[in-house]
Structures are given as C-alpha cells and as structure tokens.
Amino acid sequence: MVPITVEALIKIAIFLFVMMTAAAYLVLLERWMCAWIQDRKGPNRVGVPLTKIKLFGLGQPLADGLKMILKQEYTPAHVDKVLFTLAPIVILAAALATFAVIPMGSILPADVAFGYLDRPVEMIVAPSVDVGMLYVFALSSLAVYGVILGGWASNNKYGFIGALRSSAQLIAYELPLGLGILGVVLVANSLEPEKIIREQASTGLWFAFAQPLGFLVFLVAAFAEAARLPFDLPEAEQELVGGYHTEYSGIRLLLFLIAEFLHMVTASFLIVILFFGGWHLWGLTGANVTDVTWFQSIARVGVLTVKVLLLILFFMLVRWSWPRFRFDQLMTLAWKVMLPLGLVNLVVVAVTQEYHASIIAALEGLGGQFTLTACIWLVSILSCIAIAIIAPRSGDNRPRFYQLPLRGQA
C-alpha cells in the first residue's frame, strides 16, 4: 500500500516537472507565434546540443535557460538585499502552489498502481479540497506581493511604478474575476474545481454557453490578472523599462519570467475548468466520475490539455492583436464596464437558479432549457449594448482650453 503522502509527493514531482518544462516550451511557442504573426520564421536554429541537428529549433528553451543561468547574478548596491532575493521566490512559489488544486485530468482507474493502491488515483495533487477556487484566488492575490516586493526592494522608480500599477490593477480586476466565478459557483453549488467540471459534464452545457456574460467578464479579468497584453501595464517596456523586474538579472529574472508564464497557464486552466467543461467533451469522455474506463481516463487528460493549449494560443494571439490600454482606460474598464456586467450576470444567474423549476415548467412548450439559455444570451447582449450606449469609457481627460480673463480687463 502506498501511503497518501507518498502518492501526493509523486504527483507533486510529476507536476513540477511538467509545469517547468511546459513553461520553457511555452516561451518557445510564444516566440514562434510572435514571429509568425510578424511574418518571420522565429527561432529555428538550436537543436540537439553539440550536433548539427536543428530539429525546428526545439533546443531553444535549453539554450534560453542556460543563458539565463550563466548570466551574471548582479545585485545592485542600493537594493534591499533580503527582499530583493525573496520577491522572485515568493512569486514563483505562489504560482506553483496554485496548481495543487487544479486537476490535470479526471481520475485514473484503480488498477493504475498495479496492486500498490486499492483506490482510483485522482489526477490532482490535493483532491477534494472544498475551497479549491478560494485557494486559487488567495494564492493569485499573493502573487502581487512578489511583484510589490520586487518593485520596492529594487529601489528603482521604474520598478516601483510597475509594482504600484500592478497592485492597483490586480485589486481592480479581482472584483470582476470574483463576480465571474460567483455565477459558476452558484450553479455548480461548490467551490471545488472537480465538482464544477462534474456539473458541466452531467448537464452537458458548459458554463461559457450558459453564462456568456460571466464568461466574458472572467476572460477579460483573467487577462488582466495574468498581466498579459493588452493589460501588461506593470511591465510596459516602452514606459517602464522592465517594470518591477527592471533591476533583476540571471536566475532571479528567470524565476519572475517563469512565474509570469505560469500565471497565464493557471488562467487558462481556470477558464477551461470553470467555463469550458474541464475534461468534458460531448460523446467522448463520458460524464461518469466514480467508474471510468482507461480510454475515458486518457481521453479526459487529452481533452483538458488540448483545451488549455488552445486557450494559451488564444492568449498569445491576443497579445499581438491589440495595443495596450492606457491606465485610466484600464481602470474605467474594470470599474465601469466589467463590474456592472458581472453584477448583471450574477443577478440573472441567481434568478434563473432560484426559479429554475418553474421557469422550465413555464417554457415547457417552447423547448425548456434551450429557450432559457437563449433568453440569458439575449439579456447578456442587451446589457453589453446598454453599456456601449452609456459608454463610460469615452471620457475625455485631456487639458481643456478655458478663456481666462486677461489681466487688467477684469
């Protein structure tokens, strides 16, 4: 019998390895996407070390990592040395710890351990954590500590402005993020990621379709939380050199960059789990949770991975599609657009959830659930148009010309 602690440790080891490798190769993917969108070919030279095999540039992450590690580890004289070293550790630890409650698949049948285990293996480090989403939120808020520590300890104005921007942005977008999640939690009746997926699998209706407004709000907020373009104000290169990691170099910079990529991966996982049914795909994976076949089990891992990968590709595509927001626009978007939309979504979801049975009964002749979903879509589109008509974002804060009375004429 393998004790549960050992099982968890093995999972942690696998996840750490997978996540670190994935982050390295996502950097390569990002560089390729960047190049392709700009009509270039991208990194395609580095292959197997010490040979001439190029392998489409797949050796690039190794070269990048080696370069970062071999660079001089410079600590400027004017920094707070303890905090300066602590900041990247905090941010990476928080980013990695998030994955404890994120399922990488569904469940493996009990015979996976060849007799060492008498129970099915859940593909998650900490299975059945009731407060899963809450845990993710707490840790993603913790990430901002790493950013602020880094910016503050750098004793550098660019670093500090980057850190300030980051904190303001993250606090502003926690709200729409929470509102987007609230609708899902109301329907799924649980904060546990696995249960939220199970709810979507059992009804077959992913929350992205059931709550389009909530999805929109969460998607935008997730982009802002991951500090990806068009919300990458904390490290806007054109304004702030490098933002909060201006003063960093070598391994400590590498930790920051990995953490940033992991934030994007976390955001993709969250969006897939909350709104795209996690491992569920109609007709392929089945909805049964306690008793799965080997095929279903592997198909679920595949489906989840493909979904997450598609979402990461979307993140990268978006990065090169739109320019960065100005900071006041960023704030207006959060407080005056995303917050009301999130509230509307919450009300709609709460009402339909409370009176679900009677609404379905009333719409019996019209197709029940389908009509209800159509109505929710209609409300969502109407509220988007209403926000567009009110247009809180088209404020004008440029300096105004006022005719002042000339001296002596008054």
């Binding site: 996407m33 070919k41 595509l317 090169w320 008509i389 247009a391 088209s394 002042l404």
Partner: protein, 185 residues
C-alpha cells in the same frame, strides 16, 4: 506658448459609433489581422543557406573592386580623385610613372582600409575612368584588422570574382541597363 494662444487649434476626437463603443468589431478585426498573418508567407531569408536578393545589385554599395581594362591591366590612372573625395580617408594610393603609353601614371600600390570605409560610394562617383566600383558583396569578414586592409591584388581579384555577374559601368552604360534578371549576388 500659452494655452489661449490663437494659433493653437483645438481638435476633438471623432465620436465613436455604437460598434466602436461595443468594442466587439475591433476585437474581431484585430484577431482577423493577426490570424491572417499567422498563416501568411514568411519574409525571413535564412541567411547562410539562402543568399538574399537585391533589388538592383548594380547600384548596391558593397566591397570595392578595381576594374581591369581589355588587356587585363588595372584601369586606374592614379589621379587621386577617389582618395580626395573619400570622406573617411580610407584610400591610400602610391602613383608612379606608367610603363604603358596610353596613360601617364598608374598605381604602384592601391590600398583601401575596408574597416574605415563607410561605403558611401563617393570614390565610384569621383573616378574619371570608372576604375573603382562598389560591388554587391556585402558579407565582408576577416579575422584581423590587417586582413581587412585590401591591397591592389585583392581589389583586382574582387573584380575577377564579380565581373561576370556585375559588368563594368563603362562597357554597359550601366546607368541605363536593366539589372540581370533574378540575380542574387
């Protein structure tokens, strides 16, 4: 300039329509553009394997060459016009009396410091007999500073190397000639 200066023209942003304020059409527009470029033909030229193409190699300003005349002699008459025109002072000529009857002087030594040269093409402009020309060879490398100082023999060998691809201006009237079709270096 004060803010009430009458010369300042105050402009207002054009009002956004509903589609603009809804932001969705712009989102779709941006994504379409990037997606189209994602799959479009790439413009990168993989340099060492694939030689880059020039618009017109005849007017490219690369490594110099010293042209030869029909009898294979150096065309230069050691008039020093190129050395005088050179803004970087990278041309060093030693002119001596010519052994041939068709000119008074010829360069005993003709040295160009390619590291000092700024490839402006003034020497080519100044030359009265079209003896010095800039070729389209651009990947000029060397392992030492000495190696990058080109003497007469080296410059003549550049001519031997490039004369077929890039004919001399004087023989072709190259200001009017079309570039050789599809030629790369």
């Amino acid at each position: 300039m004060k803010s009430d200066d009458p010369n300042i023209k105050w402009l207002d942003e054009p009002k956004l329509g509903l589609a603009g304020r809804l932001y969705l059409p712009l989102v779709v527009q941006g994504l379409t553009t990037t997606t189209r470029h994602l799959f479009s033909k790439k413009v990168t030229q993989s340099f060492p394997e694939q030689r880059p193409t020039f618009g017109n190699p005849l007017i490219y300003r690369g490594v110099h060459r010293l042209n030869r005349d029909e009898q294979g002699r150096v065309k230069c008459v050691a008039c020093f016009l190129c050395a005088t025109a050179c803004p970087a002072h990278c041309i060093d000529i030693v002119g001596v009396e010519s052994p041939w009857p068709d000119r008074e002087k010829y360069p005993e030594s003709f040295v160009i410091d390619e590291l000092r040269c700024i490839f402006c093409g003034m020497c080519e402009e100044a030359c009265p007999v079209d003896a010095i020309e800039l070729t389209s060879l651009f990947d000029l490398t060397g392992r030492s500073r000495e190696e990058m100082i080109f003497d007469k023999e080296k410059l003549l060998s550049v001519y031997d190397q490039t004369k077929d691809a890039e004919p001399m201006r004087s023989t072709t009237g190259r200001d009017h000639v079309e570039p050789a079709p599809g030629k790369s270096t």
